[in-house]
């Protein structure tokens, strides 16, 4: 049943013009950032070569092309998730799910997977561009794979947050605004104040950049993977609680 709901959600996204507009804009953004990073690399390569351990193309693209894409997906994921529940409220279609033999857990997980599938497809496209450089030079696929993993995990978390806010309001645009605000907050946590301040350091534990940086240098730390997985599961659970409450609240 979860598979059927996920398929329903993916298909609903692919039917909407908005998804394709987002995809088209993303294609331009990917291409622009990628070519720009490539050009910069060619410019600075002579100087890089003088270092003891010069950064290769893979490492350079991971930091200069894939890492900034996290910010792009912080907007795209809530945009794709915003209609998941808001539209159901606006079209009065929740009754269809509520009167069918589907648990709210099944519904939320199904919808999450449906949106996640589309998001991951977009992440794969972004990841493919650097992989194409293989035809011209040797690549460090370890760094690229770690970066794509980091980008994927972060995007899944953004999707869960978008899904949660979508379950709170029937106005899709408010859902996006709330998601992006929360993400900005999570981004900036612990970035103010001096480095030896205890509060700053504690807050930084919960900040997104703290856990993201390693991926783009090719390190996959269990703690960082856990951070994204836990937040994803948390927001999926909150969505389920919210929908169960709906059945009680008239």
């Amino acid at each position: 049943m979860i598979g059927a709901i996920a398929g329903f959600e993916s298909r609903a996204l692919l039917r909407s013009a908005q998804t394709w507009i987002i995809a088209a804009v993303l294609a331009i953004v990917f291409a622009y950032l990628f070519l720009q990073a490539l050009e910069t690399y060619l410019e600075v390569q002579p100087q890089l070569a003088l270092q003891d351990h010069p950064t290769g193309l893979s490492g350079f693209l991971a930091v200069r092309y894939l890492a900034p894409l996290v910010m792009v997906f912080a907007l795209i994921a809530p945009l794709l998730a915003m209609r998941s529940f808001s539209d159901e409220y606006r079209q009065h279609t929740m009754a269809l799910w509520q009167s069918s033999p589907v648990s709210m857990t099944g519904l939320v997980v199904g919808k999450f997977l449906g949106v996640a599938l589309v998001i991951l497809l977009l992440v794969m496209v972004a990841g493919l561009l650097p992989a194409f450089m293989r035809f011209y030079t040797a690549l460090d696929f370890g760094v690229l794979a770690a970066s794509v993993l980091g980008l994927s995990l972060a995007s899944l978390m953004f999707t869960a947050i978008g899904l949660f806010f979508s379950s709170i309001t029937k106005h899709a645009i408010i859902a996006v605004a709330a998601s992006v605000l929360l993400l900005v907050l999570l981004w900036l946590l612990g970035s103010a104040g001096s480095a030896d301040n205890i509060l700053t350091n504690v807050l930084a534990i919960f900040a997104i950049p703290t856990h993201l940086a390693g991926f783009f240098q090719g390190y996959i730390s269990t703690a960082s993977v856990a951070y994204f997985v836990i937040l994803t599961v948390l927001f999926i659970s909150l969505t389920i609680i919210r929908l169960d409450a709906l059945r009680h609240s008239g």
Binding site: M1, S16, T93, A95, S100, P101, R247
Partner: protein, 246 residues
């Protein structure tokens, strides 16, 4: 136990308070195969709330509903599998085509794969939707939309069909069509539908229940002589008008 299994729908003292002056209290309804119950009441009497409680889309404060023996509290998924529900706003996706929407509904209600297509064909015929099955739902007129909503409630052959003001906004012709479908369904299953028109209830139902201020104040078989019911219902309307002007 055998007593409960015999009833397709057995609601026992359902209560749900929504606010200080809204809610429904102590609603008990039993339906058997062949019953078509009209839930009659003025606007705001608690008809929709009653239907939402019966379908499990709203959880009661107390009381329980059994659908063919399955409790909405203890086995909600099994119970919901056996109901068909058309809310006052049909739950339609405007960007979907009629046929694929109905096929998805069949899948959602766990109709066996082999039977999905034949069930969809059957409701397309029954609800007279063959001519628009490839159309997008958003392009359909109100009458067609209401029929797609009804088809959605029938596609998994539910034991109990619950309709919230199904003929609202339909023209007289479409209203007749809707009544025929309700009657046909009522022969094999149990149907309960809400309306604020006494005449409509009398035309279709074999039982009528009157809801007023959240309580079931009358429940009886429809007989040839409905003088008593008519008096009761006009009395309620008059009460209401007085209360409003006071």
């Amino acid at each position: 136990m055998t007593d409960t299994v015999n009833y397709l729908l057995d609601a026992d003292k359902l209560s749900r308070r929504l606010s200080a002056d809204a809610g429904v209290y102590d609603i008990s309804i039993k339906l058997q195969r062949g019953d078509i119950l009209g839930l009659l009441g003025l606007n705001g009497a608690g008809k929709s709330t009653t239907l939402r409680l019966l379908t499990g889309t709203l959880v009661p404060d107390s009381g329980d509903v059994r659908i063919s023996g399955d409790s909405m509290r203890e086995a909600p998924l099994q119970a919901r599998r056996k109901i068909g529900y058309l809310p006052d706003q049909p739950p339609l996706y405007n960007d979907m085509r009629v046929e694929s929407y109905l096929r998805f509904c069949a899948k959602l209600r766990l109709v066996a794969k082999a039977e999905q297509q034949s069930n969809v064909e059957a409701v397309l015929n029954e609800c007279d939707l063959q001519s628009v099955k490839k159309n997008r739902i958003g392009q359909l007129s109100k009458g067609f939309r209401q029929r797609v909503g009804l088809a959605q409630a029938l596609v998994h052959k539910p034991h109990v069909l619950l309709l919230d003001e199904p003929s609202n906004g339909l023209d007289p012709n479409q209203m007749m069509g809707m009544r025929n479908i309700i009657k046909q369904t009522g022969e094999k299953q149990a149907v309960i539908f809400s309306t604020h028109l006494l005449a409509e209830a009398q035309a279709v139902c074999n039982r009528i229940a009157v809801v007023h201020k959240g309580k079931l104040i009358h429940e009886d078989k429809v007989t040839g002589d409905n003088k008593q019911l008519e008096d009761l219902f006009t009395g309620l309307s008059a009460d209401d008008t007085q209360a409003a002007s006071a």
